[in-house]
C-alpha cells in the first residue's frame, strides 16, 4: 500500500470517527400494532407521540429526536423480539417504546440489559413486566391496578356471587387473580371463573355457562379490540342483561371507539379505568385539542394515546438527563419518582416498581348529547400497581 493511499484511508477513518461523534439524531424505536385487528391502538401510539412532539418540538438538549415505528400485529413474541433486535442493531435506537401485548413485551425484556437500551411500555399490562428488566418503565396501567377498585365497587354495588370471564393469557390471569383475591377478602363469592382463549369469537356458550352458575354479576377482562364487542353483544343478546346480571369490567371492554357499535344496549355497563376520553380536566381538553390539530379524529382516541404521550415525556426527560448520551442507568434514575399532571389526572412513577401510579375511575356508559361516553362517577386516588406493591 502506497503512502498516498494510506493517508486517504487514514483521512477516511478520521472523518468517519468525526461523523460518529457529531451524530446528533437520537432514535427511539416504537413497536406497536400498526396494522391488523388492533391497528387502532398502534395509530393511537403515533397520535400521542405526535401530539407530544407538536407541543415540545423534536429537539432535546441540542439533539434531534426521531421516532421509528415497527409493526407487531398480534401476540407474537418471536417476531417482536426480532423487531427489537433489528431496531437496536440496524437502526441503532437509544430507546425502545410501545409494546401492546404482554407476551411481546416479555420477549423484548432480556435484550435491554445487554444492549443498554431503556424501554417505555405504553400498553402491555401484566404486573411482572417491569420486574423482567431494571430498564423498563411503564406509562400505561396494570390489570391489578384497575381490577382491585373494580372488585371493591362490585361489593359496594351489592354483588354477592360473581362469575369471572377473562382472556386466557398473562393480563387475563392477573385480572382474575386480583379480582378474586380482593372480592373474597371483602366477603363476596366467586361462583365461576372462565378463561377464554384469545381467538374466541363466539361467546354464546360462555354466557350460558355463566348464566347457569347463578351469578349476579360478571366481571370480565379482554384486551381492547374486536373481541370485546362480541362479548358485550353476547351478554346482551343471551338475555343476561335483561335477567338482571350486571356487567363489571375494566375499561378495555368499553373503549370509546367501540361504544357506538355496542349501542344503547350498553347503557349502564360499569368499568374501572385510568383514562376516559370524556375525563373533565383542562389538561385533557388541551391534549384532545392537540390530537385533533394533528389530524386525529376524536372518535378514534383510546387510552394508548395518553400512555404514548406520557411515554414521550419520559423519553424526553431521559434524553435531557443523559445529555443525549447512552447511559441507561442514569436515564432510568432520572424518571424514578417523576411527578406530573397527565391528561388522565395526577400521576407519578413509582421509584420501586418503575410503574405509573395514577387515579383509577369508576365509570358508567351513559348517553350525553346523543353520544355514548364513559362518564366518571368516582375516583380512586393514586392507585399503585397492586400486583407489585407491598401491601
Amino acid at each position: 500500500m502506497g503512502w498516498g493511499l494510506r493517508s486517504v484511508y487514514a483521512l477516511a477513518a478520521v472523518s468517519l470517527i468525526a461523523t460518529g461523534a457529531r451524530a446528533d439524531t437520537i432514535k427511539v424505536g416504537v413497536i406497536g400494532t400498526m396494522s391488523g385487528p388492533y391497528a387502532l391502538f398502534g395509530k393511537n401510539y403515533k397520535m400521542g407521540i405526535d401530539a407530544w412532539v407538536a407541543e415540545h418540538g423534536n429537539k432535546v438538549a441540542g439533539h434531534t429526536v426521531e421516532f421509528v415505528y415497527r409493526d407487531e400485529v398480534s401476540p407474537n413474541p418471536a417476531q417482536s423480539k426480532a423487531l427489537a433486535q433489528e431496531l437496536i442493531v440496524k437502526e441503532k435506537v437509544q430507546y425502545l417504546a410501545g409494546l401492546y401485548f404482554t407476551p411481546n413485551a416479555m420477549a423484548v425484556a432480556p435484550l435491554l440489559q445487554e444492549a443498554k437500551v431503556p424501554m417505555v411500555v405504553m400498553n402491555a399490562a401484566t404486573s411482572s413486566i417491569t420486574e423482567k428488566s431494571p430498564y423498563i418503565v411503564r406509562t400505561s396501567f396494570t390489570m391489578f391496578q384497575n381490577t382491585v377498585p373494580a372488585a371493591k365497587v362490585a361489593k359496594q354495588k351489592g354483588a354477592t356471587k360473581v362469575a369471572i370471564a377473562v382472556s386466557d393469557y398473562g393480563p387475563g390471569i392477573d385480572a382474575e387473580t386480583a379480582f378474586k383475591k380482593t372480592f373474597e377478602a371483602e366477603g363476596g363469592k366467586v361462583v365461576e371463573a372462565v378463561r377464554m382463549p384469545l381467538s374466541t369469537t363466539d361467546f354464546g356458550p360462555i354466557m350460558q355457562r355463566i348464566k347457569n352458575s347463578g351469578a349476579d354479576m360478571i366481571f370480565t377482562f379482554l384486551p381492547a379490540g374486536p373481541p370485546t364487542l362480541g362479548f358485550v353483544k353476547a351478554y346482551i343478546d343471551n338475555g343476561l342483561k335483561a335477567g338482571g346480571v350486571k356487567l363489571m369490567s375494566t375499561g378495555d371492554v368499553v373503549t370509546e371507539p367501540d361504544l357506538p357499535n355496542i349501542g344503547e344496549a350498553g347503557l349502564g355497563i360499569l368499568s374501572t379505568y385510568h383514562y376516559a376520553v370524556s375525563h373533565d380536566s383542562p389538561e385533557n381538553k388541551a391534549f384532545l385539542a392537540l390530537l385533533q390539530k394533528g389530524g386525529a379524529k376524536l372518535d378514534e382516541v383510546t387510552m394508548t394515546s395518553v400512555a404514548a404521550y406520557d411515554g414521550a415525556r419520559l423519553i424526553y426527560k431521559m434524553i435531557e438527563a443523559t445529555s443525549g448520551k447512552s447511559d441507561p442507568d442514569k436515564a432510568i434514575a432520572a424518571v424514578k419518582g417523576m411527578k406530573w399532571v397527565s391528561p388522565r389526572g395526577e400521576v407519578s412513577i413509582d421509584p420501586e416498581t418503575r410503574h405509573i401510579t395514577q387515579n383509577v375511575y369508576l365509570r358508567e356508559v351513559e348517553k350525553v348529547d346523543g353520544k355514548l361516553i364513559n362518564r366518571e362517577l368516582e375516583t380512586f386516588k393514586a392507585q399503585p400497581d397492586w400486583g407489585l406493591a407491598k401491601q
Partner: protein
C-alpha cells in the same frame, strides 16, 4: 337438562353458519373437482360488501345481503374468466392449490388496502337484534335467523342438484364431460354457473354468519381450515354430508367451549380426527 338446552341452540346456529359457507366449497370440490382455497375470501368479500352497504350506503339488511351476494359474484367473474376456467376438472391439485391460495392472498391484500385492518361491523336490523325467549333459555334472535337460513339453503340446494334440469346437466358434465358435451350440454356454461352459485353461497354465509365469524382482513385465511374440514368430514359434493358434518362439528365445538372453554378448539379437532378415522371418505362421501 339445562346444560343440554344451554348448548344445543348455540351448536345448531354455529353448525348452520359452517354449513352455509362451506356448502359452496363442497360443491366446487365434489362436483367440479376444484380445491378452491379462495372460498373463504369470497365469503369475506360478501361480508365487506354488506358492511359497506349497511354502514356507508345506509340500505336495509335484506338489500345488503342481495348486494353482497350479487356483488361477490360480479367480483368473481374476472377470476373465473381468467383463472378458474383453466383448472376445472383436468388440472392437478397442486396447481389448483397454488393458484387459489394466490388468489386468497391477493384478495386479503386488496381488502386490507381498501377497507383497512380493523374488523368491520354488520349492524343487524331491529327485528334480529336482542334476545329471544325460547322458554328454556334466551337466545340471540339473530341465531334463529341463521338457523332458518341454513335450513332454507340446504333444502333449496338439494332440490337444485337432485331434482332440476340444471342438476342433471351438472352431474352429467362432472361424471363425463366429453360425453355431456357430445350430447349438447354446454359444460363451460354449466361450470361457470356452478362457480357463481358457490361464490354466491359463500358471500351469503359470510354475511349472515358475521356475528359468529367476524369480518376482518384475515378472515379468508383464519377460517379456511375450518371450511375445508367441514367438506372433508362431510364428503365433498354431498349436501346432506356437509349438513351432517357442520352440525356435528358445531356441536363438538360449542360443547367444548361450554364445558371447557380454556381448551379452545381442541374438541373440534378431536371430533374431526375421530370422524375421519371412522369414515375416511367423509360421512356421505364416495370413494373415488
Amino acid at each position: 337438562m339445562r346444560t343440554v338446552f344451554g348448548i344445543l341452540p348455540d351448536a345448531l346456529a354455529y353448525g348452520m353458519v359452517l354449513f352455509t359457507i362451506s356448502i359452496g366449497l363442497s360443491i366446487m370440490m365434489g362436483l367440479m373437482r376444484v380445491v378452491n382455497l379462495a372460498h373463504g375470501a369470497f365469503a369475506m368479500i360478501g361480508g365487506y360488501l354488506a358492511s359497506f352497504a349497511l354502514v356507508s350506503l345506509g340500505v336495509s339488511y335484506p338489500v345488503a345481503i342481495l348486494i353482497a351476494v350479487i356483488g361477490a359474484v360480479i367480483i368473481s367473474v374476472p377470476f373465473e374468466f381468467l383463472l378458474y376456467r383453466r383448472i376445472y376438472r383436468k388440472s392437478d391439485e397442486l396447481t389448483q392449490i397454488l393458484l387459489t391460495i394466490g388468489i386468497t392472498f391477493f384478495i386479503v391484500g386488496v381488502a386490507n388496502y381498501i377497507f383497512g385492518p380493523t374488523s368491520k361491523p354488520i349492524p343487524l336490523p331491529e327485528l334480529l337484534k336482542g334476545p329471544f325467549d325460547l322458554g328454556v333459555r334466551m337466545i340471540p334472535t339473530h341465531r334463529l335467523f341463521v338457523i332458518g337460513c341454513g335450513v332454507v339453503t340446504a333444502v333449496a340446494l338439494w332440490l337444485l342438484i337432485e331434482k332440476t334440469e340444471f342438476g342433471v346437466r351438472l352431474r352429467a358434465a362432472v361424471d363425463n364431460g366429453d360425453m355431456a358435451e357430445a350430447l349438447g350440454i354446454r359444460t363451460q356454461i354449466v361450470y361457470s354457473a356452478t362457480f357463481a352459485l358457490a361464490v354466491g353461497l359463500a358471500a351469503f354465509g359470510g354475511v349472515v354468519g358475521a356475528e359468529l365469524l367476524p369480518v376482518e382482513p384475515f378472515y379468508a385465511l383464519r377460517y379456511m381450515v375450518t371450511f375445508l374440514v367441514v367438506v372433508s368430514v362431510g364428503g365433498a359434493g354431498s349436501v346432506s354430508g356437509a349438513l351432517a358434518a357442520s352440525l356435528l362439528l358445531g356441536l363438538a365445538d360449542t360443547t367444548g367451549k361450554y364445558l371447557a372453554p380454556e381448551f379452545g378448539e381442541f374438541f373440534f379437532y378431536v371430533a374431526v380426527i375421530v370422524i375421519v378415522y371412522i369414515f375416511p371418505h367423509g360421512l356421505f362421501g364416495r370413494a373415488h
